[in-house]
Amino acid sequence: MSTATPSIDHDAYLKMDLLRLMTCGSVDDGKSTLIGRLLYDSKTIFEDQLEAVEESSKRRGDENVNLALVTDGLRAEREQGITIDVAYRYFATPKRKFIIADTPGHIQYTRNMVTGASTANLALILVDARHGVVEQTRRHSFISSLLRIPHLVVCVNKMDLVGWDEQVYNDICSDFREFAAKLDVSDISFIPMSALCGDNVVDRSENMDWYQGSPLLHHLENVHIASDRNLIDPRFPVQWIIRPHSEEHHDYRGYGGSVASGIFRPGDEIVALPSGFESRIKSIEQMDQKLDEAFPPMAVCLRLEDDIDISRGDMICRKNNQPHVGQDLEAMVCWMNQVPMTPRKKYILKHTTRECRCMIQETQYRLDINSMRREETEGNLELNEIGRVKLRTTHPLFYDEYRRCRQTGSFILIEESTYETVGVGMIVGN
């Protein structure tokens, strides 16, 4: 194994940004092999991890080192050769740091995919070149678009098994494009590869000189993600009130929270919801620093010119740009629990830093996530099902459509007796 030492320049390291990506698929698609390959070729797998994997591979009777074993963390997963849950993997190149949310791809793991997708900037969709676009490809792509992952990369894998044939690749690309026209995704790229052989993962393939694009890692390092966030609509859900109660800071009152969207600067005129009181930002602070501006996802402390009544769950925004305020919501809900969602039932709802109760009014339709067709329903949503739901909350929420702002457009539902997180929602409108 190479002992290449990446030169770590402190200043350069501090300038790197962060890309969160999701992979979905099963061992059959070569997903774990692809991740193993990315980690291995980018020199992220350490010697002791590789040794452990070599040993397990031998014990299992695998012929080659099974790179899939790098990602499968729980005993049951290694024994059964499956991925049960979302696993997070980390690697960095001199350009960027990456967090991989690795999720299982079968339909019974839809909830895990939804979980991994909720924070991702980019999704890797694996297609087996021998089988082309199949039901699972459509499902993964649809979930990515539903959760508003801005970038999709279709990895046409196992090209070695189709003789590195350009025609096979082109046909798959046009099949995918045709189906993806129905999706709401702005950026789709295609890469022919063989994760097993390492072609077009980190290094350019020597077997496919007809492909002019970048290998996967180069693409991941360069895809433009700075515009993925909403910097237009200032939203600051108040999370924690900072009141020192000390001699030195007698009258200090600050509002701790994370910027959900938009940009805040000292001097900005703001309005606090639900009170409607107006004031101006006196300063934006973090520990002993004063900042010139705050944008997502910065966690800061806002101080205002006036002493107005604000508490956790309130929202600070601009007077001329306010979120919707209301108790009646329509949302795409994905059900995460064995016990189905039923109309008229009440749940605890968490939205930004706000918590209230809600009642399910009705399920308008259920989505077949393989065909993307709307289906009629009696009203229940079973585990892993997604449907459009109307609900009413006990208190007003300050929200935006999910497609406009992920942070102010999402919520979770909690069962009132078990306290389990049973459902998640993306607000469509009202």
Binding site: D17, F46, S56, G73, A92, S227, I242, P244, H249, G256
Partner: protein, 315 residues
């Protein structure tokens, strides 16, 4: 409302609004700490004097200053700790002016809550789980911050940031609450608690880079020094009153440092001339073995060692 906007369609966004990955991780951790402060009655922060818990304290300062932390610090002292780490622990807590609670495994043994492992080289790694769970009961803590990171170990890679523990303190990897966006469900019943890992998404390198950029002091054992060591199971263990040295083992003095701060019975030294934080960073960058694999005897027993200990209530 501003003009039509959808995610991923704003090419004119100035680059100055991009946040570096360390600042992104810092913001995520601050958000998590404030969320715990708001959702729980009695949180506590596990502070050992190790580098990860040192970073957690800085995150807490960023989340709550100029006010005091809305929780005390707790250290489970196995009695096998490095003196330098204990000194550092007490000094740092005093500097910050925060309350430090110490509970000792020694006292759990005296009270008959646990028994010292038989044999000449007992490890107290497992015993500290009982002391920790007893402390959680004693103070009725409902949330405990730990510095564990997902890059450390395979089982941890699958653990939630809010990790639910039943009344026995156990982790059930197959029954974890879904965790989406930055919405955290901290609802529990009496007797249950949540372990919270604000540094879940940090790597070892991130921790060191953060310590460098925040200019944080760390215990001296992280830096190169002369120390008496013995070879055992392919690792260099520090000579201490807590291990029994047999005839085949010859203590010798080496220039070493430690990559983690754990018990002296199971934390191995590595050869190193690194005498400042930038040397350490260069060394970590060049290292080809993970920090746990290199220096923690406790994880070597089986492929699923950590998974098993976590199910019992270990951090």
């Amino acid at each position: 409302m501003a003009g039509c906007y959808t995610l991923g369609q704003h090419p004119e966004t100035p680059l100055s609004y991009s946040l570096t990955h360390l600042k992104t991780l810092e913001s995520e951790a601050v958000h998590i700490m404030r969320e715990v402060a708001a959702q729980f009655e009695r949180p506590v922060l596990l502070f050992s004097g190790g580098k990860d818990s040192i970073v957690m304290l800085r995150i807490a300062e960023k989340a709550f200053r100029p006010a005091k932390f809305p929780f005390p610090l707790l250290h489970i002292d196995t009695g096998h700790n490095f003196e330098e780490a204990i000194d550092y622990r007490d000094r740092r807590a005093a500097e910050l002016g925060e309350q430090l609670i110490v509970r000792k495994v020694e006292d759990s043994i005296k009270a008959g809550r646990v028994q010292e492992e038989p044999g000449p080289n007992p490890s107290r790694n497992r015993l500290q789980t009982t002391t920790l769970l007893d402390s959680i009961d004693e103070f009725e803590f409902d949330a405990a911050f730990g510095g564990a990171r997902r890059d450390e170990e395979k089982a941890r890679a699958k653990e939630r940031i809010f990790s639910f523990r039943d009344e026995f303190g156990q982790w059930d990897p197959k029954n974890q609450r879904p965790e989406l966006w930055n919405l955290y469900n901290g609802k529990i019943r009496k007797g249950e608690h949540i372990r919270v890992f604000p540094l879940s998404n940090w790597t070892e390198m991130d921790v060191w880079q953060y310590i460098a950029s925040e200019e944080l002091e760390i215990p001296s054992i992280y830096y190169s020094h002369q120390r008496e060591v013995i070879d055992r199971n392919g690792m260099m263990l520090p000579v201490s009153p807590f291990i029994t040295i047999d005839d085949s083992e010859t203590p010798r003095t080496e220039t070493v440092r430690f990559r983690t701060v754990g018990d002296m019975t199971c934390t191995a030294a590595v050869h190193s001339p690194a005498s400042n934080i930038h040397d350490i960073i260069a060394e970590v960058a060049a290292a080809r073995i993970t920090e746990r694999g290199a220096t923690r005897a406790d994880d070597k027993f089986s492929e699923a060692a950590m998974e098993d200990r976590k199910k019992e209530g270990y951090f």
